[in-house]
C-alpha cells in the first residue's frame, strides 16, 4: 500500500510535469489537472464537514463559548442551503456577500491599522536591533513618502527616497527572498517526485 501511494504520486507528478515540456503529454496533463481540481473541491467539502463536526462536538459537550458555535453552525447551514437551492450567483446570495462577507473582511483589514501600529511600537521596545530599526525606518519613510499632504508630496522623501527604496533597495532584497522561496519550493517538489518525502502518509 505504501509503495502504491508513492507510485501514484510519482506517476501523476511526472506526467503533469512532462506535459509542460512535451506537447504529446499535454492532453494527459489537462486531464490529470482536471481530476486534481475535482479532488480539491471534494477536499474543501471534507474540510467544511470537519469544521461542522468540531463545533457540533463543542455544543454536545457544552463547552465554554458553545453559544458561538451554535451561531456558526446556523449561519453555515442556512447559507449553504440557500446557496444550494438558489445558486451562488442569486441576488439573495449577493446580499450575503455584500452585506456580511465583504464588510467583515474589510473591517478586519481595517483593524490591522491599529494592530500593525501597536506591533511596530512593541518591536522597537522589545528588539531594538539593527534589523528592527532598518525595518521601521524604511516603513516610516515609505508611509511618509506616499502620504498626500495639502501641499503635495514631502520634497526629498516623496520624490527621491521612496522611489529609490522601493525600486532599487527593496527590489534587491525581494528578489533574493523570491529566488530563495522558489529554490525551496523546487527542492520540496523534487523530493516529493523522487519519493524522498511522502506527506500523504506513505512513509
Amino acid at each position: 500500500m505504501r509503495v502504491f501511494t508513492a507510485v501514484i504520486a510519482i506517476a501523476a507528478g511526472a506526467l503533469v510535469l512532462g506535459g509542460y515540456f512535451l506537447p504529446a503529454l499535454a492532453p494527459v496533463q489537462t486531464l490529470l489537472l482536471n481530476w486534481a481540481t475535482i479532488l480539491a473541491g471534494a477536499a474543501v467539502l471534507v474540510g467544511i464537514f470537519n469544521l461542522v463536526s468540531v463545533h457540533s462536538d463543542k455544543i454536545r459537550r457544552q463547552e465554554k463559548g458553545n453559544a458561538y458555535s451554535v451561531l456558526l453552525l446556523m449561519a453555515l447551514v442556512v447559507t449553504f442551503l440557500f446557496a444550494m437551492i438558489l445558486r451562488p450567483g442569486h441576488i439573495i446570495m449577493k446580499v450575503v456577500l455584500s452585506g456580511i462577507i465583504i464588510p467583515v473582511e474589510a473591517a478586519l483589514m481595517g483593524l490591522l491599522t491599529i494592530s500593525l501600529l501597536y506591533a511596530a511600537v512593541r518591536l522597537l521596545r522589545r528588539r531594538a536591533e539593527l534589523m528592527s530599526i532598518v525595518f521601521l525606518i524604511t516603513a516610516a519613510l515609505l508611509i511618509l513618502g506616499s502620504a498626500t499632504l495639502p501641499f503635495g508630496n514631502i520634497p526629498v522623501i516623496g520624490t527621491f527616497i521612496r522611489p529609490w527604496i522601493t525600486q532599487v533597495l527593496a527590489l534587491g532584497g525581494a528578489r533574493g527572498i523570491l529566488i530563495g522561496v522558489a529554490l525551496g519550493a523546487l527542492t520540496t517538489g523534487l523530493r516529493v517526485l523522487f519519493g524522498a518525502d511522502r506527506p500523504y502518509g506513505g512513509n
Partner: protein, 227 residues
C-alpha cells in the same frame, strides 16, 4: 424589491462593521458574534461554490449527461472523491491516502514548474536585464544610473540569498561557524531583508488604512441616509 434588498445589505454591512470595530475597545461578545457568523457564512458559501463551480460541472454533470467515453474518464475522480470523503469516517480515513497521493504528486509538479518558469527564470532575467544599457538609454535612463542601480539590486539579491546559506564547517572544539566572508555578506543581507520587509509592511499598512477609511465612510454614509 431592489431598494429593500439594498437597505438590508446596507444594514447588515453597518451592523457587522460596528461589531468588528467594537474590538477596538477590547475583545467582547459583539466582536465574537460577528466573527463566528462570518466564519459560518463564508464556509457555507465556499461549500456551495465548491459544489456548483467544481463538483457539479466537472464531475456530476459529465457522469450524468456525458458520453460513455466521458463517463469512463470521470470514474477515476469519482472514486478519488469517494476516497477523500472516507476521511470523514475515522476507521476508513486511511483509504484517502491514494487520492491524497495523487493530489500531492500533481501539486508537486505544478509547484516545480511554477517555481522555475514563474519565479526563478523571470527573476534572474530581470536582474540580468538591468545591465542592458541599450534598453536603459531607450527608457531615457543614463548608463551610469542604470549600472549603479543594477549593481545595488544585484548585491541585494546575492547578499539576501547568502543570509539563507546555513552551510558551516565544524571547528576543532565542535562548534560551527560560517566563513567570515559569508558572515559579512549575510550581515549586509539582513539590512536588505529589513528594508524589503519594511516596504511590505508599509504596503500592507497603506492597504489596511484604506480599508479602515472605506469602512468609516460607509458607516457615516449609512447614518447620513437617515438624517
Amino acid at each position: 424589491m431592489v431598494l429593500s434588498l439594498d437597505l438590508i445589505t446596507g444594514l447588515l454591512s453597518f451592523v457587522f462593521t460596528l461589531f468588528i470595530f467594537s474590538y477596538l475597545i477590547g475583545d467582547n461578545p459583539l466582536f465574537r458574534i460577528a466573527v463566528y457568523i462570518f466564519v459560518g457564512v463564508s464556509s457555507g458559501y465556499i461549500a456551495s461554490i465548491a459544489w456548483w463551480q467544481v463538483i457539479w460541472p466537472r464531475l456530476i454533470n459529465p457522469l450524468i449527461f456525458g458520453s460513455m467515453f466521458e463517463k469512463g474518464f470521470m470514474l477515476v475522480p469519482l472514486i478519488g472523491a469517494i476516497l477523500i470523503f472516507m476521511k470523514i469516517l475515522p476507521r476508513m480515513a486511511g483509504m484517502a491516502r491514494f487520492a491524497m497521493a495523487f493530489m500531492v504528486g500533481v501539486g508537486a509538479a505544478v509547484t516545480i514548474y511554477g517555481a522555475v518558469a514563474g519565479t526563478l527564470i523571470p527573476q534572474v532575467l530581470g536582474t540580468i536585464n538591468i545591465f542592458d544599457l541599450l534598453a536603459a538609454s531607450a527608457r531615457n535612463v543614463s548608463p551610469i544610473e542604470s549600472l549603479f542601480n543594477g549593481s545595488v539590486i544585484l548585491a541585494g539579491t546575492v547578499f539576501t540569498l547568502t543570509y539563507f546559506h546555513f552551510g558551516a564547517r565544524p571547528k576543532a572544539d565542535g562548534s560551527t561557524q560560517r566563513i567570515r566572508l559569508i558572515e559579512l555578506f549575510a550581515w549586509v543581507g539582513r539590512i536588505f531583508i529589513g528594508i524589503t520587509l519594511g516596504t511590505v509592511f508599509a504596503g500592507v499598512y497603506a492597504a489596511a488604512l484604506t480599508a479602515f477609511i472605506e469602512r468609516i465612510i460607509s458607516l457615516i454614509n449609512f447614518i447620513g441616509n437617515f438624517l
